[in-house]
Each structure stands twice: as C-alpha cells, then as structure tokens.
C-alpha cells in the first residue's frame, strides 16, 4: 500500500489537476492516514468543486473521522450533483442508521434499492434497518419511498423476522461498539451476521471467500507444532483488529473491531460471539 501511495503522490505532483487525487485520498483513508486523506480530498475539491466523487471521498473520510453530520452533508451534495449516485444513498442510509434514525435510514436505502435492486449490500442494509424498526416496535413504513411517495422494490425474501434472524445474530453483542461479527461455514460462505464497512459497503462475502480454508491452515500448523487444537486467530491491521475462532463442522466466527479497542476486550467479545453462534447452530440455524 505504501508503494501505491508513493506512486499516486508522485503522479499528483506531476499533474495537480489529475483526478488521481481520488485514488490517493482513498488509499490514504484505507491506510488509516485520515488527516492526510482529508488534505488530499480538500485540495482535490478546490479544483473539482462540482465533482460528485470528490464529495463522496470527503464523506467517506468524514465517516472514518467520526464526523457523521459532515459525511451526511457531503453525500447530500453528491446526491444533488449526481441524482442517480447509489453510494450517496447508501452512505446517507448508513449515517442515519448509526444515528439510530432507522425510519429515515430506510427511506434512503429504499431509494438506493430502487436505483439498483440487485445490489446485495443495499438489500442487507435494508434488512438490518427493518430488524431495528421491528425491534423498536415501529412499522417503519415498509413499502414507501418516504419523501417521494413512490413504491419501493420489495425485498420479499427478507420480509419476515425469521429470515432476518441470521443477519442480526450478533447485534446484541456488537450494538453500540465499533465492531462487527460474522459466522462463516467451512467453505467461506456467510451463514449469519453482517460485515458492513464504515462507508456502508457490505464486504461479508469478500471476507468469507478470503478466509475459506483458514481453519484447515491453522489446524495443520498447530498439528506440526504439537500445540493442540487452535482456539483463536487474531490479526492486527493498519485500520482494525480481526479475530476469529473455530466452530463445529469447520465453521468460523469472525469479528472486526476498531484498532482502538484493547486486544483483551476483542477476545472477550469474540468469546461471546462464539457462545451465541454455538447456541444458534444447536437450535438448527443455518
């Protein structure tokens, strides 16, 4: 990633009007260098004030900086510049979800669904919002597009609470914290939970695919060392801490937490997620 950032920086230095600032800002954001990312995005915005992607980048950086209001405003600007921008609706829905404004979040996510009915991340996010609305006892106006009063595309396969149960399996444990949890089967397919990044992208399937087989690798390594069965794997990255633990039938529980979260606490949360997943599997989940 450092090489990529260096290359993009050099390219931008050679041509300050180049749109490469978008890639550079995103690379810095993903690497956790938020102050630098913000600087790059703001400079880019000075040159390209009416570029929707510039405001989109600024919004994502703002989310990472915990500035949800600013992120919302930037995505609102994106929506005005590019009315069919899917990411803006998803982002605004995400911000409202984080703020506990589930009915409003549903409105924006429904708009996103209307723009692209096949986007799985939108379907997942909508399902999460509807779980929250049902938990809160609010009808949530499922089926309307709120301010525009048009019909939304129904997410029929996710309309019953029973179907949604797998999505909210870890909600009670992860709610309010800067962490997320997933249950993967032996082939890396997601069985329960969600893995939504701060900019509203659901990367559960990508993570699942990459992690398929990690149980086998861990077990083999431990067998060669005579250290017994593996009980957890913790990976610290530039931006977060990921911890996982094996389940029966080579399934895997995975959590991703903020880097600021103490490692000991990460393991406590992981243990609770394992307990929850075990109970769910025992009851026939998945």
């Amino acid at each position: 990633m450092a090489d990529e950032i260096r290359r993009l920086s050099e390219e931008l230095a050679r041509d300050p009007a180049s749109p490469v600032y978008l890639q550079l800002g995103e690379a810095l954001r993903r690497g956790g260098q938020l102050d630098l990312a913000l600087k790059v995005a703001l400079r880019g915005l000075e040159r390209h004030p009416h570029d929707a992607d510039s405001h989109d980048l600024l919004a994502r950086i703002a989310v990472d900086r915990g500035e949800l209001e600013r992120a919302f405003d930037e995505w609102d600007m994106v929506r005005r510049i590019a009315p069919a921008h899917l990411g803006a609706r998803k982002g605004m829905g995400y911000v409202l979800f984080k703020q506990g404004k589930f009915a409003e979040a549903q409105t924006y996510l429904s708009e996103a669904s209307a723009l692209d009915g096949e986007d799985e991340t939108v379907a997942t996010a909508l399902a999460m919002v509807r779980v929250k609305l049902r938990e809160a006892g609010s009808p949530g106006d499922p089926g309307s597009r709120g301010d525009q009063g048009e019909r939304t595309q129904p997410v029929s396969s996710l309309d019953t609470l029973d179907d949604l149960d797998h999505l909210g399996l870890f909600d009670e444990i992860t709610e309010g914290g800067e962490h997320t949890a997933l249950l993967l089967d032996a082939t890396g397919l997601v069985m329960a939970g969600t893995y939504v990044t701060q900019d509203g992208r659901d990367v559960a399937q990508e993570v699942g695919a990459e992690l398929s087989g990690v149980s086998d690798e861990a077990r083999r390594a431990m067998r060669h060392l005579g250290l017994g069965d593996w009980s957890s794997l913790t990976v610290e990255t530039d931006a977060a801490v990921v911890a996982m633990a094996p389940m029966r039938d080579d399934a895997l529980v995975l959590i991703a937490a903020s880097k600021a979260m103490p490692l000991g606490l990460v393991h406590r949360v992981l243990d609770r997620c394992v307990e929850r997943a075990s109970g769910w599997l025992t009851k026939g989940g998945g």
Partner: protein
C-alpha cells in the same frame, strides 16, 4: 549459518516460554533464518506459518483494512505469533504460559531492526 539476523532472532527465542523463532519468506515459505528448540519441524512449520500469514493479509486487504501488522494464533497448548515486513514474516512459537503481550512488543521491535 550465522548471519547478522541471527542475534535478533535469538533474542526472541530467549523470551520466557518461546520454543523457537523464524524469519520466513512469505512468498515461498522458505526459512531465511531460525533458532529452534530441538524437535521442532522448522521447514514444514515455516511453510504453514507463511501461508497462514498470507491468507490473513489477503483477507485484510479484501476487507479494506490495510496491511497486517501482527497475527496471533492461540491453541490449547501454546501460541504462534507472526509479524511481516517486505514480504518476510517473523514467526515465534511459544507455549501456553508465555507472556504474549511482551513477545508481541519484542517482535514488533525486532521487525524494526530487521534490514535485508
């Protein structure tokens, strides 16, 4: 063969509970330098550790989490820790009583000192 890397690796092996330390090429899983207690299957373990580290790195990348700075595999009777730099992986194997917090700190320091 003694190299200038050996003292760095050996200092890790002297930590309480550590059974062995290895510096491994992440791409092919071959040992660059190692100090292991008798009985440890170095080459096989190096290959598995490198593969596991690589899989974790790809996963983190897929999730947009950036580079991997430290990895710890906990088992019923011990731990394996790994940290990477420039396509090399520093690996430590320790028993269950080892102080992983201290080993983690020493590994990250050692990684800073490693120059190839």
């Amino acid at each position: 063969m003694k190299t200038n890397l050996t003292p760095i690796i050996s200092s890790l092996t002297r930590q309480r509970g550590v059974r062995g330390s290895l510096l491994v090429d992440e791409t092919d899983g071959v040992i660059i330098v190692a100090t292991l207690h008798v009985g440890m299957k170095g080459p096989a373990f190096a290959a598995l550790a490198a593969s596991l580290y690589r899989k974790a790195r790809l996963s983190a990348d897929a999730a947009g989490l950036g580079g991997v700075t430290f990895l710890r595999l906990r088992a019923t009777e011990g731990h394996m820790c790994a940290a990477g730099k420039n396509e090399m992986v520093l690996v430590v194997v320790a028993d269950a009583r080892a102080n992983i917090g201290l080993i983690r700190m020493e590994m990250l320091k050692a990684l800073e000192r490693l120059v190839i």
